[in-house]
Structure formats: structure tokens, C-alpha cells
Subunit: 368 residues, 2 copies
């Protein structure tokens, strides 16, 4: 028997929770102290649908930490290893949040929504408290808040057609990881071409509950012939696509370089951020472990904690998330593995959770 | 249909999760990125049992933020409005965590476990990130970590007899909110006489997974004739007892004074903490709203968000948690109500969630 989720005000509902439940959400997880749907028709069915049609996701849990004020640019740059010095007001930046040891504390999208005003669209840790702590400690002139913004994602190959119907032709000009404001029912919503799948789509930053629910309904009704239905971030699709999940694949014991996020770690001498020296040193010496893909000859797997991976007597790393992929006909996973034991694309016999498994390490994302 | 909980490594399991599930946990919530059981036999049955027998609770979610180092005393005092200057190494301090505006960010128990080493036993926000931010901002010499400590609570009137059987007669000398180390299977566990019920009991800070599970089994087997069974913090019991829940009854928009925590707000001129001036001013002027108990003539209620309370045309406050109490024969709740509209112990007609309700405001805890 699967335990149900106990609800309370602490585990916040969203403006769309009532709709989600009317549409028969089967499972929830909790993310940023808020309900995140995890399944509507089962993870496999949801995955197939996402790859072929269009889904509307209640991702209100992507909370915005708003940093505004004269020191907002300084503080936002200080907490991320991504170079934001040239940040444009229409581009989303994937920007790992780091501490003074170069460890990763979150992996948000960051947007400069106005001069001196940033939105940090966070994964599942209280970045607001971290930013507030630093601002207090350094006596910075900033105001740090969580605005009432509840994103909806429109994901899947038919998301473009659907968004065109609702917001007009113009939205098709929006480039990947760009954002712009578009009107619906006389309200302008910030919309980005982004989302936590590789099937294409948009994220709508809903800052008006009532019009947001009207938009939710409109998206589903306009998308009826496109097969539009409620969905949610999908375990299978995100692992196949190599999309990392903070709290699963990486946590505050890892650095961005160990997580393969080198492209988002700046060594520009003109910018300053926490842990930069540590990361510079690690970059020069090379990491001793990193994330790899794992293909495993198994028909099912469930990872609810980091599982040690043994190669004979050697513990070579930990498996951090995994699922059975019908498209690959095997289990796929993401693992942190010691560099000395990384033998990509070779047939291996490994022991995971006490079970002997035929497996292969690969680069991410997975390719057939 | 009640949605199930979706598990992953991000929503961490505990050393006791396997046991909990063998014993048939019915519902989970998530707290500090970890699974917290919410029901075993239904909230009413669990409540009656708790009031009459003894329960073993997996409250691993009470994570410890360990602050150690030369500046640990300074930092720990800085983030709480409780006076810790005379803190003893065997006493638990309920110590609201505050920001520079005097807002409450968490309401942990704080223990000085060694010289220059504190455990902050947190409610459901990432105090570790807040403390880290301030330490970085102020360049403090501290090490802030989350040790592998997974508390078990032993709660209920028969908890004293059970703990005596497992740890020996000596444990009965432990005074309320004191802590001390006691041996089990040659391992010393820090044990406090504390817990999130008013039925009496202990919290065992389990810092050894394997011996911890042995202890869990031993408590259940030694307590068989006492009716010992797995349990969890109980919605009904905690509301009846007036135990506040961070994230439900209070959040970062409230001050400790508004939450009735005056006894834990120090104005000792010799200590310094964040937001002290703001709280001093609020203390002098008096708060404009505060938490009160609500007794409502209703047979059931479910609060999954703060519900506006109307008195005619006036919005007088918000209902933050509530349950039906079989012992009181009505619904009890905790509400933040404007001082000008507080009319304690009078019969009122209020509108909550669009429903007209006969209600009474009272002091906490509730009395019949």
C-alpha cells in the first residue's frame, strides 16, 4: 500500500491545486514547501504523452526569490559562479548557487527582470534564507522577497501550436532561454522559452492567481484537439534527457565542476563570487569524481536514497537517480563516480544495492 | 481519491523508513526535505492512543544544524531572540530564529552540546543556509554542518515506564527540557526530556543508524504490554495542546511577539541579536495582531492554506490550522487575529471560507 500525502498549510497548495485534483492527480511530491504533482496517468503513460503532445504543468514550486535594490546586482553575482556581468533583461541564465567552498546549494534559472531586480527561480532549497543571511552579514542594501508568482509550464512538441493559439503568432519568435511579456485577458505575463523537459516548451510566470486559472483552463480547452492534458516533470523523460535534479543528482556536498556544469562556472578575472578560488583550484587540478550516465540491464529500479555502486571490492560511486526507460528497454540512471573508475561505454559487472548488474557508464544525455 | 506520495532521494528516507512502512504508515508529509509519518491508524485513533499509552516516533526530520568553532557562540546568539548568554550544557532552549526585521524564520530547540558547539534542532526551513549566509557575510570562524542525527521521540504517559526499562531507572531523574547522555548497546545517545506533544516523553538523538534501528525495535518489544506502537506528531493533540507549527501557524511574515512567544524574546541590554531594535519597538507599542485559539461549532474542517476570517464586512484575521477534536466535540484552530477584533470567550458569528460559523476566541492551550 502506498502512503498518501498529508496536506496542511505548511505544505502549500497552489492556485491550480483544485484544478489538478479535479483532473485526477495520482501522486504528489513536495518541493520548496509546496505541492508538486508527480503523476497523472502513471509515469510511463505521462512520458509517452509528453513526447508526442502537449502538457500543462503546475510548477508553482519553482518559487522566485526576488532580489532588488542598489546592491542587487552585487549580491546576485556573489552567490553564483555564472558570469552575470553582461546579463540581458530578456535572457534566462542557468546559474548554480555556491557557497564559500564552491559547493552547490541550488541550480536556479536567474533572470534580470528589471534594472536592479532579479528573479532567482529556484530548485528545492531555501535560497531566500541564504541570500538574506549574506545580505545581513554584509549589510547590503537589498530587499529579498518571495513574490506571489506561480509558474505554469507548457511542454511537449505541440506546445508551440498551443501557445500560438493562446498568445498569438508573435510568441513563436521567442528564442530558447529568452523571455518576454505577453498579454492574456489584459494581463501581461512574463513568459520564457524554457522548461524542465527536452520536448520543447514555455514557462509562464503567473503573477495573478485569478487570471492564471483562466489561462490554465484556456490552455486546456484550446489544446483539446492537440491532446493537451495536465502533466508534471517526468522522471523518465528528465533522466533520458540528462536533466539534473538538485537534491537527487547533486547536493551541497558537490561542486558544479563535479556535476559537469563547467560551462556555467566563470573564471573571468573581472567578476567575484563565493568559492571562486576553490573552484579555480579544482579546475586546474581536475575533479576526482563526476556525474555520469548509467545504463543498467534491469527491468525496474527505484532509488529513494543514494545507492553505493561497487565494482568488486571497490566502492566506485553512488547511484543518485534512476528509472526504467521503455524506449531504451533498460534502466537509466545518473551516478557520481570516481574518475579513476570511470570506464565509459564498456560492459561492466557492478553491484548496486547488493545486486549484480550488467551496466555501462555513458555521457549525458543518453543516446541509443 | 487521495494522491500518494512520490518518493525520491531528494525527499530523504530515514534510518527507520523501512520499519515505519512495515508497520503500515498510512500517510506522509515532507519536512526538511525528508519523510515525516503523518498517520498510522488515522489521526483520531492515533491521538487517543497517544494520550493513553506510548508511541515511538520517527522524527528524523528534526534535523540538527551544527554550529561549531570559535565564533559559534556569537553566531548562534545573533540569529535568535532568546538569551543564550547563560546557556547550560544540559538544557534545551526553545529559541526563535529571527531576521534583521525581527521576523521569525524557524522555531528550533537549541542545545549547547559541547563548548563552542551548538545543535539547532530545526523546524521546516533551511536554517543551515541562513546561518551559512551570515557566517560568510560576516567572515566568521565557524563550521556549519548537518550531522547524521535522526531523532526518535518516545511520547505518551507510559513513555517514562518504557524508557526506564530500556535505559534504566536513572533516566527518570531527567528534568523537563534537560538533556544528558545514556547508553544503549554500548553506544551513548543524547536524550532530552522533550517532544512535540503535551503527553510527556523523550527525544533520543540517534547518531548511529544501526544501533538506532536496534533501539527502535527494542523500544517496541519492551513496550508491548504498555501498548507501545509507532506514531507521529498528531494534528489533534498538538492543536489541543496549543503547540505551534512553523509554516502553519507562523511564518516569515510574523514576529515572535505576534506569535505569543514573548517569554523567548530577550531585551537584555548585554546581548545582541538581529532585529532586536524592531522587536523592542514592537514590544513597547504592543502588537497589532496575535495568535489566538478558535473553538468552532463544526464537525469537520481541513485547513490547507491560511483561511480569511470575516466578522461581517471586516476581515479580522486568518485561520492557520484546525482539526475536529473528539474530546472537545468541536473544531479547534489557531488563528492570527487583529487585536482590535479580539473578543476572547464571547460567542461570535464568523465567516470562514464562506461558511457562517458559531465560534469563540480563546487563549492557548485550549481548556474545556
Amino acid at each position: 500500500m502506498n502512503p498518501i500525502i498529508a496536506k496542511s498549510a505548511r505544505v502549500r497548495s497552489t492556485p491550480f491545486t483544485q484544478r489538478i485534483e479535479e483532473y485526477g492527480v495520482q501522486a504528489y511530491t513536495v518541493y520548496n514547501h509546496m505541492l508538486l504533482p508527480a503523476s497523472f496517468h502513471g509515469v510511463v503513460d505521462d512520458c509517452n504523452h509528453l513526447k508526442n503532445h502537449v502538457q500543462i504543468w503546475d510548477v508553482s514550486v519553482e518559487r522566485q526569490v526576488q532580489i532588488e535594490g542598489p546592491d542587487a546586482d552585487y549580491l546576485t553575482q556573489l552567490i553564483t559562479c555564472r558570469d552575470l556581468s553582461q546579463a540581458k533583461d530578456h535572457i534566462c541564465y542557468y546559474a548554480p548557487i555556491v557557497d564559500d567552498q564552491g559547493k552547490i546549494l541550488n541550480d536556479p534559472l536567474v533572470m534580470k527582470v528589471k534594472p536592479n531586480t532579479w528573479w532567482v527561480s529556484i530548485a528545492d532549497t531555501d535560497v531566500l534564507l541564504y541570500a538574506k543571511g549574506i545580505a545581513i552579514g554584509k549589510n547590503l542594501d537589498v530587499n529579498i522577497t518571495e513574490p506571489n508568482v506561480n509558474p505554469l509550464a507548457v511542454q511537449g512538441p505541440k506546445s508551440f501550436e498551443l501557445m500560438k493559439r493562446v498568445f498569438g503568432e508573435e510568441i513563436l519568435n521567442l528564442k530558447f532561454f529568452n523571455f518576454k511579456r505577453y498579454a492574456f485577458n489584459n494581463h501581461e505575463f512574463l513568459i520564457a522559452r524554457s522548461g524542465w523537459s527536452k520536448q520543447g516548451g514555455f514557462e509562464i510566470y503567473v503573477d495573478h492567481d485569478e487570471i492564471g486559472v483562466q489561462l490554465y483552463d484556456q490552455l486546456l480547452s484550446e489544446g483539446k484537439d492537440l491532446g493537451a492534458r495536465p502533466g508534471c516533470p517526468n522522471l523518465i523523460e528528465r533522466i533520458e534527457s540528462g536533466l539534473l535534479s538538485y537534491g537527487n543528482d547533486m547536493d551541497m556536498n558537490d561542486t558544479p565542476l563535479e556535476c559537469g556544469l563547467d560551462a556555467f562556472v566563470s573564471f573571468n578575472p573581472d567578476i567575484d563570487y563565493l568559492g571562486k578560488e576553490v573552484l579555480e583550484k579544482q579546475q586546474q587540478q581536475g575533479v576526482s569524481r563526476s556525474l555520469v550516465g548509467m545504463m543498467m540491464d534491469l527491468k525496474e529500479i527505484s532509488v529513494t536514497q543514494h545507492l553505493p555502486i561497487m565494482n568488486g571490492q571497490n566502492k566506485i560511486g553512488t547511484l543518485r537517480s534512476a528509472c526504467y526507460s521503455p524506449d531504451f528497454g533498460k534502466c537509466l540512471g545518473i551516478a557520481m563516480v570516481d574518475k579513476t573508475h570511470q570506464t565509459l561505454d564498456q560492459d561492466l559487472k557492478l553491484q548496486i544495492n547488493g545486486i549484480e548488474i550488467s551496466a555501462k557508464m555513458t555521457n549525458l544525455p543518453f543516446t541509443k
